[in-house]
Amino acid sequence: MTTAATPVTAPAAQTSSRSVVAAFVVMVVLLLIAPVFIYPLFLMKALCFALFACAFNLLLGYVGLLSFGHALYFGWASYVSAYAAKAWGFNPEFAILAGALTATVLGLIAGSLAIRRQGIYFAMITLALAQMMYFFAVQAPFTGGEDGIQAVPRGYLFGFINLNDPVNMYGLVLAIFLAGFLMIYRIIHSPFGEVLKAIRENETRAISLGYKTERYKLVAFVLSAGFAGLAGGTKAIVFQLASLTDVDWPMSGEVVLMALVGGLGTVFGPVVGAVVVVAMQNYLAQAGQWVLVIQGVIFVACVLLFRRGIVGELANRLRIKL
């Protein structure tokens, strides 16, 4: 069954990583000057989703596991961070960490269940578990049901940096995004990451080489959930809101779309994809339900014509690694 199918992403050309470094520098410079020209709240939203998409890509792009329930980690981290900041009066850094930690634990539980099945079943299980936790979020008293947790205080980072100042807030989001991005990059390019790619290409062969692939898959899953939680917790502090939208299945679909549009299995793809999707939502906000239709059309177009995504296509044209 799996032998005839081509892997989700083609193995990237092993050229020098200079192109990656150059692209990284360009990205950082762009992100540093962008707030001068672009509404900072939009940028912060894009950065949170970019980290979320990078976390998701770690799983689908590098292990070949399609999780259709990543809203679970993003959304629940967002709830926990918001609750910790508002009800317990946590400092923002601890609130975000509490969210990320919750997501990591949830990832461990959901991951150890989901890796018991392969391929298409894996996607269905992750989706079903996420939906279960969505219903918990609807019923649990502390999530605030339909209202969500509103008016979350941004507070003072480390007790003295006022995050109500947009410059400070943007700085924190940028720092968290870059830290997450670099850590994911490090994971992908470590010996551990090489084993993940081996599992993606041919799991049976990886097993025959003596790797306990289930453990590798689980660790990758937990890491991905943790980074998704980091993104979700940050989002809760930035927007001072955690709501059902963050845990519902369309959110899981959106992160798949971001990674797909940008390019699965590329380092920068999810970032570009997140910016594109968030920008699209912003500009089409008046279009109402048509956003759903347009997202659907992009899904279909990407799968049929454009499987490499924007960055994958670009890297392929220029014959570099991105």
Binding site: A5, A114, R117, A123, Q131, F136, W249
Partner: protein, 295 residues
């Protein structure tokens, strides 16, 4: 009126009936998913949207063409099935050589498009569809009141499920189908048009979803979201049952419907989540699913 475990019989049997009704839809939809997966190796994420299209098609036929429920029950599966055939020819057939995940992503995109278009035109609130006159009213069974239409839904979906099982497991056509699932190349060598068979199988699976949609129209409101909520539960049903067996899909569908109904009586807080919890337990004990074969 009498009591069972401290619960009035009306409430208990009432929820049991609702459970059986939901179970009918779980069974029909997971059967369609299993049939499609068997042949195409694709999980049809658009299944919920196609179920919703079935309900809307019945609504249109009644309100714009004056064709009643019974015409809808026959015509709609063909109409939506034909739509499925077009989708398979246009899109899905390009994906068979790729990873199965692309099929899931593509049909997810289709589901978004279909749901979005319907939401734009009909809003999010439901549209009413009347129970057909011949099936209005109900029977008083002494321990509970049984509405005729609900009894009909259970009987009809059981009949459709069992006929599908019979065709696939006991006829020559079904034998060809199963053979093509196992080894398409060999079956082609025998002169059987496998690509056409694949197309028609997808059409049939979609038609099953549409049939379920028509039957659901008088029970639930006809609304654009009716499919997307259901499909995720059906996925869990499919994971629990395993897609290897047709009969397994039917039994799991009805069984889980009943369990969900009983949960509503004894532990209402968990009624939304019980199927997912069962899924988690099954994954721990029998990872391949109750009726599944280890891949």
């Amino acid at each position: 009126m009498f009591e069972i475990f401290g619960i009035p019989s009306q409430a208990l049997f009432g929820q049991l009936l609702i459970g059986l009704i939901n179970g009918s839809f779980y069974a029909l939809l997971s059967l369609g998913l299993a049939v499609i997966f068997g042949m195409l190796n694709i999980i049809n994420f658009a299944h919920g949207a196609q179920y919703m299209m079935g309900a809307f098609a019945a609504f249109f036929l009644l309100n714009y063409a004056g064709l009643n429920y019974w015409f809808a029950l026959v015509l709609v599966p063909f109409m939506v099935g034909a739509f499925g055939v077009v989708i398979e020819r246009l899109f899905l057939q390009r994906l068979y050589k790729l990873d199965h995940l692309y099929g899931l992503l593509l049909t997810f995109g289709l589901a978004l498009i279909i749901e979005g278009v319907f939401r734009n035109n009909f809003g999010s609130s439901g549209l009413p569809y009347r129970v057909p006159p011949t099936l209005q009213g109900g029977q008083n069974l002494g321990f509970m009141f049984l509405p005729n239409y609900r009894a009909w839904v259970i009987v009809a979906s059981l009949l459709v499920c069992i006929s599908t099982w019979y065709v696939i497991e006991r006829t020559r056509l079904g034998a060809n189908l199963r053979a093509a699932t196992e080894n398409p190349t060999l079956v082609r060598a025998f002169g059987i048009n496998v690509p056409r068979m694949i197309t028609l199988t997808y059409g049939f699976g979609v038609a099953l979803a549409a049939f379920a949609g028509v039957m659901a129209a008088p029970i639930y409101n006809v609304s654009p979201q009716m499919g997307s909520h259901l499909i995720i539960v059906v996925f869990a049903v499919v994971v629990i049952g395993g897609m290897g067996s047709i009969l397994g899909a039917i039994v799991t569908g009805f069984g889980l419907g009943v369990i969900e109904g009983l949960t509503k009586v004894f532990f209402p807080e968990a009624s939304n989540t019980v199927i997912f919890i069962i899924m988690a337990i099954v994954l721990l004990i029998r990872p391949a699913g109750l009726f599944g074969r280890r891949a």
